[in-house]
Amino acid sequence: MTRLLLIEDDAATAGEIVADFTAKGFAIEHASDGACGLAAATAQHWDVLVVDRMLPSMDGLSIIRALRERGVGTPALILTALGAIDDRIHGLRSGGDDYLVKPFALGELGARLEALLRRPADSLSPRLRVGPLELDLIARTARRGTRTLDLLGREFQLLEFMMRREGQVVTRKMLLEGVWNYHFDLKSNLVDVHMGRLRRKLDEPGTASLITNIRGIGFILNAPA
């Protein structure tokens, strides 16, 4: 069972997250201020932390920094309000943590926590394999079985992103950020169009699609059983 510590002072947001993630099978505990949260985070082992940025008694980023100084490497996701996004928040992503701007869909939070929990190993292997799919990251070639896939640059990046997160739900937001480097809401079906093209190139008649659409949340790449 995945152990999640939520540090959030807003009761309504906390209630929703607790209800949703309990239903998803997480073991979740909730602290409502920074000092309690930091104490709880150091007292026992957690798989992942969700920390609000604005907390009474201690700032969310300070909690993460304090934990890292004590050698606690638990991956963390910071919840932040629009308008409080600065370089330090952006820096979380390069540091292996993540952030999410309120309001967010619970599906988005779930997908991001999953991504944090199953952080792709930064394998040095120049080849990626998922089922029949094979990417050569140096030659920039892609194959499905024996068939060579003719992918455009962005489609290659998109497929690489999906393959590194095989079996995980990937949201449109994550794709916009990870593949296109768009760190803002885009009210356009840009991702769907690119994904549609990629799928047409990957899929083979008579077999199930490797990438499936998770309605309202995003996409998932599964190796055929």
């Binding site: 929703e16 599906g107 009210k187 356009s188 840009l190 309202g216």
Partner: protein, 465 residues
């Protein structure tokens, strides 16, 4: 009418008017001084002439001749002249050779000019003469050359003073006029700034200054009030957006749970899906509003870097090409890089993405969208144009305002906030944003260098037709 012309004329009128007034005042003061000064001078001369005439006339008649003679011996006749004449006008004794012809013998002062001594020079005299009881004629006169000299000197002094005064008046007047002109021009510049939307600008004013300063202070108070009212209005919008977020998110969570429960039949599932889609759209609008507010409040420029705009265009075109193709729109890039600009790269990318997204949406199937770079290396102009239906002139200004969408836009996706976001990004950078007629279609131009010198530069949409 252009403001500076009006200002210059006003200032010049003030300067000349002041000089004329000063000259007039000086001239009348000088005239009075001249009149008073000279008459006082001559009054003193005349009084002494008359006094001596009476003094001599009051002496015993037989003493008179002797007194005049001894007086002449003691005091050489330089200033005062005395003469005693026989009833027929011939000289008995005195330092005048003859009685001036036609001189009334009434004991009153008369000004005469002429030679008083044989071989002497012509002189200016004030004289008085009277007939004594024994028939002889007594004359007392005084040379007024000195007084006349003083009078001339006074006249010259006053004339030179007047000229100096007029010149000083003109200079000071022009100086005041120029200063007033500069002040008015400065006020005009700030006022134009304010008119173009920079409400945080203030008129220059000294606390203990003149009427203009007092007026400026009052205007500044009005501006402060206006700014706070507008900020309040804006906050109302943002507060509503903030407040809507939580209940909307709650509704979405409940709908998501209902869908995941699996107790819904197909029809119910469909209804829930569409409801979630509607909530998503509403939340997207809320998020856009808050995003625009965030950009508008963020006057900071710490995130500014120098980057290649041509590369941004190429990447945006690359991202949107499949989308455009699916909508039947041809998307092309007409930009030769690198073109370095200074700004917040993330925000500029967001603005370009919004412009391209809009252009592709509104151009419509069978039309073209061109992402171009014009201007010069120092003043690059980003240009997104299409040959679609375009935007009517009357609607151009409005499309930058929040939520506005033209008729053509009502069927397309989007919250209608795309262009307001672009305008907010432009304002933050001080870039000028224009919406123009592409004949046919529409053309958005963004001057990628700060034209208004600040983070809150104005965004203007010229309506030239």
């Amino acid at each position: 009418m252009r403001l500076p012309d009006l200002v210059r004329r006003t200032a010049l009128r003030w300067g000349l008017g002041l000089a004329a007034l000063l000259a007039l005042a000086m001239a009348s003061a000088f005239a009075i001084a001249y009149e008073l000064g000279t008459s006082a001078l001559f009054r003193a001369v005349d009084r002494s002439v008359l006094e001596q005439l009476e003094l001599l006339a009051a002496r015993p008649p037989d003493m008179l001749e002797f007194m005049i003679t001894s007086r002449m011996n003691h005091q050489p006749a330089v200033i005062t002249r005395v003469g005693l004449f026989r009833p027929d006008g011939s000289l008995i004794v005195g330092d005048l050779e003859f009685l001036p012809p036609g001189l009334p013998l009434n004991g009153k002062i008369h000004a005469i000019t002429g030679r008083m001594q044989r071989g002497g020079d012509s002189e200016d005299l004030h004289v008085a003469a009277r007939r004594l009881p024994d028939g002889r004629i007594l004359l007392v006169g005084r040379n007024v050359a000195g007084a006349l000299g003083v009078q001339r000197t006074l006249l010259w002094t006053l004339a030179i003073g007047l000229v100096v005064a007029v010149l000083v008046g003109l200079g000071v007047g022009a100086g005041f006029g120029l200063r007033a002109e500069q002040r008015l021009r400065r006020l005009g510049r700030v006022a134009e700034d304010i008119a173009s939307g920079r409400l945080h600008a203030r008129l220059p004013a000294r606390a203990n200054g003149d009427a203009l300063d007092q007026l400026s202070l009052i205007f500044n108070r009005i501006l402060e009030r206006l700014e706070s009212i507008i900020a309040t209005l804006r906050h109302v919008g943002e507060d509503i957006a903030h407040d809507m977020r939580t209940p909307l998110t709650g509704v979405r969570v409940r709908l998501e749970r209902a869908r995941q429960d699996g107790r819904l039949n197909a029809a119910g599932q469909d209804v829930v899906d569409r409801a979630i889609e509607g909530i998503e759209q509403t939340l997207a609008i809320v998020a856009s509003l808050l995003r625009i507010a965030e950009i508008e409040h963020g006057r900071r420029q710490s995130g500014f870097t120098t980057f290649d705009l041509a590369q941004v265009l190429a990447q945006t075109s690359d991202a949107f090409a499949p989308l455009a193709e699916d909508s039947g729109v041809t998307l092309a890039v007409d930009a030769i890089g690198p073109v370095a600009i200074h700004g917040d790269r993330t925000l500029i990318v967001e603005a370009v993405v919004n412009l391209v997204d809009n252009a592709v949406k509104f151009a419509g199937s069978g039309h073209h969208v061109v992402l171009g770079l014009g201007g010069s290396a120092l003043c690059p102009v980003l240009c997104v144009s299409d040959d679609g239906p375009g935007i009517p002139v009357v609607e151009r200004e409005r499309v930058f305002h929040r939520f506005y969408r033209g008729d053509a836009g009502r069927t397309a996706r989007g919250s209608g906030l795309g262009l307001s976001l672009v305008a907010a990004v432009a304002r933050l950078h001080g870039f000028a944003l224009r919406l123009l007629d592409n004949a046919p279609g529409c053309r958005v131009e963004l001057d990628c260098w700060p034209t208004d010198g600040g983070a809150m530069g104005a965004t203007r949409t010229p309506m030239s037709q």
